[in-house]
Amino acid sequence: MTTTADALALGLSRDQALAAYTTVCRARALDDRRFLLNRAGAIAFIISPRGHEVAQAAAIAALQPGRDRFCLYYRDFAAALACGFTSAELMLSAFARADDPSSGGRQTPGNFGSRRRGVIIGSSTVGPQIPKAAGIGLGLKWKGEGALCYVSFGEGATSQGDFHEGLNFAAIHSCPVVFFCENNHWAISVPQPLQVAGAGVAARAAAYGIPGVVVAGDDFFAVYRAVAEAARRARAGDGPSLIEAQVLRLQSHSTDDDQRSYRDPGELAAEAEHDPIPVFQHQLEELGWLSEAEDRRIRAALEEEIDSATALAEAAPDPDPSTLSRHVYADG
């Protein structure tokens, strides 16, 4: 775990750290609310970021939303918030409303997209964003303005051929890409040993002659440092890096899944004790950057924010059925 001294050495300001902490708490509060809404039958389907939030927020904190590009995946709720999505917007997407900024209710929630924010709309398909990020990186390299492309995915996605093709291309052309794997050791019910041959995801970087780093996903500062270093390399023209953040999946894969049917109860119980949010909170307290009172204030404000986000989304209109055939082509 990063020590206080290490953290201070990163040059991250208290404001930045607290903003990230707020993002993390916002993601969690949103998630809690979505589960309530799901149980009440108000929304259909949830993929939860629970356990990944700190790693996601740390990664984005080390980058430059507004300047960089972000190819996120379906579990990246905290990352999306860090890129500028609001609670209300994510609620609109949970309710599949017309004003969902990502897709107007067309895609399942978790497929984040916003051109003006540099968040490239993904699909539910696992893997294809990885070589796409290499292409975006190539374009950014040609532009020469120092922007980079961040792309995230689970360890399951690394099994796809597209993972290999993307890393190979980006490495050959020194594309400014940060490959960020959120390794929660499970792809739905398939555990890492049946998914990833060899020592792990980061160990694959060497195959392409690029840096590969393993980092504890509940250590905000460690993730921040790893991504900041990868970003520095990318912006300097030194090419891509692969970062493997080890996290826990503190929920089932989705509300369509029940992990108790395939996981060891003891292991599940033990993991439940390792929520990364208290760890981050504790780090901030150690640094003297967060008091209990401040924490309560943040969380209370978030409750209100999410109340109104929910109210807004509940009241928002569904997509007009007559728009079904729009945007198949540019002139449609």
Binding site: A44, F45, A96, R97, S103, G104, G105, R106, Q107, T108, P109, S123, S124, T125, V126, G127, G156, A157, S159, Q160, G161, D162, A187, I188, S189, V190, L194, Q195, V196, D256, D257, S261, Y262, D318, P319, D320, P321, S322, T323, L324, S325, V328
Partner: protein
Amino acid sequence: MAERTLVQAVRDALAEEMERDPRVCVLGEDVGLKGGVFKATEGLQARFGPERVMDTPLAESSIVAVAQGLALEGYRPVAEIQFADYSFPAFNQIVNEVARIRYRSNGDFGCPLVIRAPTGGGVRGGLYHSQSVEAFYCHVPGLKVVLPSTPADAKGLLKSAVRDPDPVIFLEPKKLYRAGREEVAEGDGALRRLGEAALVRAGRDVTAITYGYLRVVTLQAAARLQEEGIEVEVVDLRTLRPWDVETCLGSVRRTGRVAVVYEANRTGGFGAEVAAELAERCFESLDAPVTRLAGPDVPAMPFSPALEQAFLPDADRIAAGLRRLARF
């Protein structure tokens, strides 16, 4: 005989075939302990072990490639692709490799394997868990394509697919997985031959040729039209490649009117093949144009219920199309 849903019938078919033939094995993402995301393989790993029911890495191209390798070694693999939408990463393995191996080896090699995948929409899966992919595979010589819509058909056709000497794409309409139950036979008594359509409702005025989930909706439309005095004959193709041209020709020659009803994107859908063939071969019996009632040309069912409903042909729309045809 026991009452079974479609997904249970799939599971029974797999279990029976694995019991019958030690070469039969199952592989795919999450098919093991979890039993598949739709539970189609539930309990099979406990019964047959982690080799014969194998969780694979998240990589569809290799799922098909490994299944093919096993088939070449004499096994009878049944690969699950978690959603038909995710068969595309395996498209090269399916089309260039699996489908063409018998032809390119001049008959020296064969590749008996089954690729199962849930298909179609209507379960709020959004754009990437709702696609209808049959037209892609129906255009590939060397493949067979099956798309059942009842528990008994699913079981009987899957058992036949497993025993077939050629590769079979077996698409299961996910909206029907738990939509109803029916008595399903056991053992060889359950077998259904590939390539035979079912005349599921007799009628003298209009023929509706359909398959998959829209069989259910077409039958609803037919019941409604009966009240108006229009008798609709409904044919469920069940197997799309090879499809049962004779049964369809027979029906259309009797009624003189035919609509092909399918959920997939209209343009270039498999219904175009059916319509084109019938239009050519029934020309002199036709009293009205061969008509297609199909899904719109948008990528797939959106997640929003409002849009999903706008996509999926319902009984009203199908009835309207058939009524128009009857009155032509």
